[in-house]
Symmetry: C2
Subunit: 367 residues, 2 copies
């Protein structure tokens, strides 16, 4: 008979023998939690769903099974976009997703995933772990009984697949593009027509020319969806999502009721999953991009510099318009801009200079 | 009487009542560890010593005191550069440092901290968490009974403080510079004279003109040392250390003997400390650089592009020469180059393009 068989039968299965000592702390320490985690991702979705499952596995290992989490992909238990409500209501203990999905309920949430011409992964991590980003995020979620933690990052995304070359701003006029969220608002401002499509219809719509362009994620996921078979030009950079942060979000009552050691373990494993996830993206995107270029002969193209200047201006307009709609968004947008202006000069002499002058030898030779 | 008073008296203080069940797993779970951690950093050294202390605190919290770690700064228990030997011998359980300090014992260790014209933080993290970097590092340390984990990153460092302008490669000839390690070998190849100085003598030597230049870390630490009072020109980027990884390294017997939940907690808190540390550096360097520019009127200068091309070539020569001296270094250097060529094209279209086209609005206006 091992200890788990002996003790593990009930939810409040403290070290039963130890309880004879009578200290309440013993009960708290020994309590076991069996949770459900829902996600916004399809089953087996690389890095994202896999990352949610990795988080659950590491939490179980680190707690020796005091917390076990069953993970359900989008639609398996609740609809993908029902995660927020399910955890808010306490039906489910936690979810993994991306904050901009909840813009309809919490407009300010968008700044905590990614906004057009926003922060790269290192920037948003700095805002969360050493700035006031996480505190603001917690404030925005608290009325919904939710506690968010950064849990991953896609890295800088790609600009998307286009069936025609993009040379001037005039090329956006009338362009039918699948691009959700704030990026879509920028494209609409540029004269494009934004088309919303479920993931399952993207490939066919692009292949048949029902739409002219689509943004998805980056090389790893785009290769898997076969988008290179449906459009010729693969544009970078992903100005609309330059480093999308993923979240693990807990029901506040569940999180707040935990003993402090388990809170530290959850926070720590979330941070570990964050750094693991970006590393996985970086590594896998490297391999997938090579395959797209060398095996599938994709035409990799950079958006023209002047076009990006114009898209940047439209993005600022969109962000200011969004911020003006809602006091909380305004507060978050102002904090976001202030933070950027504080770290911008340092980024110029460190990472920007690195990519300008040090990185070069291993860079892709583009023309 | 609480449980800790009751159980915490001896090193093998398992849940005493629970031991009546007689399962060995119970002993392992309940065992308490009281460790010493030595570091290579001065007391209160921002982010680095503070990060080692944060690691210890988080481990204690996450394990509810099953692991407590007393942290000793460099010289407090063993000399700063005695950490490796002390943990290797098992006198002390773990240390925090940077792998290039051990080049005299393990030449290949240099690639796991930072090498001239090497990887930035995101790159080296990808090598460790999603490539073969950590496996190689473990291989190199195993003969010394050590298990390394990434635990922090300084970010891209600064190029250093110079008492004269650096315009052409000829300006390196005869330059007396405090720059240790591989960076120093590159400066020597360029015709400079490398001077080794303990941290405490750096400021005075530079101020009195005994040396002409010094590299230290970045704005936060350089401001603290007052280097702006001793030299006029502050050059970027830190080509010699473009993202130095810090380590927490365990005695192998200690680490391997732990129950698996504690290993996961240590690894997870190390990863959390890694992302926290880089975030702290980024945030604090931003504020310190602003103070250096606006309050102390430092002349911030970029090394000329052509000079960096030449320094890059000399750096490659130095790395190849180092690799040729030792089969393990050769293996690591080849793996390092292969990894870089695999992620280089992706870096070009993601982070490099981000800094070229998206970041700009908040960048420092340099002339």
């Amino acid at each position: 008979m091992n200890r788990r068989d002996f003790l593990g039968k009930t939810a409040v299965a403290a070290g039963a023998a130890a309880t004879t000592i009578g200290a309440p702390a013993v009960w708290a320490q020994g309590k076991k939690y069996h949770w459900k985690m829902v996600t916004t991702w399809p089953p087996n979705f690389p890095v994202l769903q896999v990352g949610a499952e990795r988080f659950a596995k590491r939490v179980k290992e680190a707690t020796e099974g005091r917390i076990t989490i069953d993970v359900f992909a989008g639609g398996e238990l609740v609809p993908a976009l029902g995660c927020f409500d399910a955890v808010s209501a306490g039906t489910v203990e936690l979810f993994s997703g991306a904050a901009y999905y909840w813009a309809g309920k919490v407009p300010s949430a968008q700044w905590f995933s990614s906004v057009p011409f926003g922060l790269n992964p290192q920037g948003i991590n700095t805002w969360f772990y050493a700035g006031e980003g996480l505190k603001l995020w917690e404030e925005c979620y608290a009325p919904f009984n939710l506690v968010p933690r950064p849990q991953g990052n896609t890295g800088v995304q790609m600009g998307g697949w286009f069936r025609k070359e993009m040379n001037t701003m005039a090329d956006w006029k009338g362009l039918k593009m699948r691009i959700p969220g704030l990026g879509g608002k920028v494209v609409a401002k540029a004269g494009g027509t934004v088309v919303l499509l479920p993931g399952g219809e993207i490939f066919t719509s692009l292949e048949r020319g029902v739409i002219d362009a689509v943004e998805w994620v980056g090389p790893l996921h785009d290769l898997r969806l076969g988008l290179y078979k449906a459009a010729q030009y693969y544009y970078y950079p992903g100005w609309h999502e330059p480093g999308t942060c993923l979240e693990v979000t807990f029901n506040k009552k569940v999180y707040d009721g935990l003993p402090s050691d388990l809170k530290v373990i959850l926070d720590s494993v979330a941070a570990e999953t964050n750094i693991w996830s970006l590393s996985e993206f970086e590594s896998s995107n490297g391999a997938a991009l090579e395959e797209l270029i060398n095996k599938h002969h994709v035409q990799l193209k950079e958006f023209p510099a002047e076009m990006l200047v114009q898209l940047g201006k439209l993005s600022t307009e969109v962000l200011e318009e969004e911020a003006a709609k809602d006091p909380q968004s305004k507060k978050v947008n102002e904090a976001f801009k202030k933070f950027r202006s504080q770290i911008g000069p340092w980024g110029t002499v460190s990472e920007k200079a690195y990519y300008d002058r040090i990185f070069g030898k291993y860079a892709l030779k583009t023309t």
